[in-house]
């Protein structure tokens, strides 16, 4: 069992600006933590710093209470599954899994027992004599996972382990990883991905990272929390836009009224929408942005007049189980919304549609892009 603690961790390559900045983070023992973020946000660098494959420019990294900044990777009790699998091509599956144990100078019988147990758990029993080149992508990934679990580490590190697999295999392996983590639940896991579906499915805790000017201003971490926390209570527009698929709709407006009980916004089209957020940070006349997820929009009945957005249907994507309606807001040709509607919804391209946005599902972001606290999320999501 191992917990991880990062204090003010910073990484910059020689002569360049920082790629990871001011990271303060605690990952509990047996917790499954996912680093999520767009390309270039430093999530893999952060993982590699935990592994010891990258030096930490400043700050402190502790594993199980021991500062490990200068500890060799093999002494940190971590095991890593690489994006490219990193199997030794000249060794058999058995030798690949046993390699780390041999370096640890375990006796032959123990090595054999551990390798065969891991192989059984991963359904690799029949493949132990094969070389990696003779395996499929999914089998190689399982060998890579076997090589990690056989060492019984305190921390599992996964660097985008599913990105080389096809869609079906990705879901299967994702489930497998979740099962293995439950089986070896004494170890904590840190998992890097840019795929929010993977993050939502696997994580106990998501660490969402951002890059560029946001990182320079606020540090690398945009928000830390459980998957549903990030979904329901995003701290800012970046988090709100990154979590959820299709991404959240953002519509600009002006504050009509704001108080502790809610905010009313007038959109450019003249429609007025209320949001159940604590509006004490805003004043009437301020610019603000309304955020509403596609799955929370619904087609309003013909007589509905309040809490609606009128938009012209531009593109309709039918997936069977649901329909994505892409629509341009009335009087705002450059503003688009996407609504996730039922699979058999009756809409036609070119028609103007009234979309109902319930107040409890609306988010409001101030002029700096920060979210106002939502009022009745906990009750509804419980």
């Amino acid at each position: 069992m191992a917990s991880i603690s990062l204090r003010n961790v910073h990484k910059a390559y020689q002569g360049n600006s920082a790629v990871v900045r001011n990271v303060d983070l605690d990952i509990g023992a047996s917790e499954f933590c996912v680093f999520l973020g767009p390309s270039g946000c430093g999530k893999s660098t952060l993982l590699r710093m935990i592994a010891g494959l990258e030096a930490i420019t400043a700050g402190e990294l502790s594993i199980d209470g021991q500062v490990v900044n200068d500890v060799h990777p093999s002494k940190r009790r971590v095991a890593m599954v690489f994006q490219s699998y990193a199997l030794y091509p000249h060794m058999s599956v058995y030798e690949n899994i046993a390699f780390g144990l041999r370096q640890a100078k375990l006796d032959g019988l123990t090595i054999d027992r551990k390798v065969r147990r891991a192989a059984t758990s991963l359904q690799l029993d029949q493949l132990l004599d094969r070389k990696p080149a003779a395996l499929s992508g999914g089998q190689r990934q399982r060998v890579a996972i076997g090589r990690a679990i056989v060492r019984e580490p305190g921390v599992f590190l996964f660097d985008e382990p599913l990105s080389n697999l096809d869609a079906a295999l990705r879901i299967q392996t994702r489930t497998e990883i979740a099962r293995l983590h439950r089986e070896f639940n004494q170890a904590s896991a840190v998992y890097v991905t840019h795929d929010q579906t993977e993050a939502m499915a696997l994580a106990d805790k998501i660490v969402l990272l951002h890059a560029g000017a946001d990182m320079e201003r606020d540090g690398s971490i945009a928000q830390v929390g459980s998957p549903l926390d990030l979904y329901h209570r995003p701290k800012n527009r970046f988090v709100a836009g990154f979590i959820g698929s299709p991404r959240m709709n953002f519509v600009k407006g002006t504050v009509l009224e704001a108080n502790a009980g809610g905010v009313s916004l007038r959109l450019a089209s003249g429609e007025v929408l209320a949001a159940s957020v604590d509006g004490r940070g805003l004043r009437a006349g301020d610019d603000a942005t309304l955020g509403i997820r596609p799955e929370h929009l619904a087609i309003a009945g013909g007589e509905a007049t309040g809490q609606i957005v009128r938009a012209q249907a531009r593109l309709i994507e039918r997936f069977g189980e649901c329909t994505y309606l892409h629509a341009a807001l009335a009087d705002q040709a450059d503003a688009h919304v996407v609504a996730k509607l039922s699979g058999d919804v009756n809409v036609e391209r070119g028609r103007t549609i009234a979309l109902w946005a319930p107040p409890h599902a609306c988010h409001v972001f101030d002029g700096d892009g920060l979210a106002l606290p939502r009022l009745d999320v906990a009750e509804r999501s419980a």
């Binding site: 890593m80 030794y88 390699f99 780390g100 370096q103």
Partner: protein, 281 residues
Amino acid sequence: MIALRIREHALAKRGVSYMLALVWLAVTTLPFLFIIVTSFKSQEESFSSSVWDLPQRIDLSQYESVLHGAFFVYLRNSFFVVGLSVLLIVLLSSMAAYAFARLDFPFGKTLFGLVVAAMIVPIHATLVPIYLLIRNIGLYDTAFALVGPYVAFGLPISIFILTEFMRQIPRELEEAACLDGCGPLKIFWRIYFPLSTPGLATVAIYNAVALWNEFIFAYVLTSTPAHRTLPLAIWDFQGQYTSNVPGMLAVVTMTSLPLIAVYAFGQERVIKGMMAGSLKG
């Protein structure tokens, strides 16, 4: 119509390519054919018949006389010197290549530049200093006198080839081995060395061919037949059989045979190793 013209053009291009290939084949193989054919002629026949005539009868007497001479002493010396030199070149150049390809150390790039620059040092400019050095350390006219210069001159190109080869081995393998508890030496020996087999074969065969034919160092640093290598055997036989052309060519044929065997066996690997890095896999 256009398609037909394109096809005709492609056929013409292929025809020219085949012609050029045939000419090159003739340039490289005809002298060798001449050597083999003439080595089976009697001394009289070599004077009386045309150069390209086949022997009227196979005369093995030249081979018998060569084999009864000191040929096997030269052969043994060549195997020893070339074998030891190639072994040392492969070991030292692979270690150096790993360091240049994967380890960060001060002035690494400058040092690699110097190693590559050493390829342009002409052998002849170093003959006198090396001769004096070998004499001073008491190795003159021993098989070991040749090993030092051979290794030194074989290292630059070998390091160059292997460094490029090792740079293509994914860094993740090194990182995985590092997490598995390996230090740089173990990573080299357990991962990089076995994975560089095609490159090592290239280096071994390339150097073996070059050293098997090496003449000038062997001539300067050895003086007695007991320590001389095969290229000097030809020199010696040339003196011994000044007018015996078939005898001399029998020596040449027998000297070339091990080389041809090695090249025929390893040609594919040499080309693969040389091409490494030229294309993205």
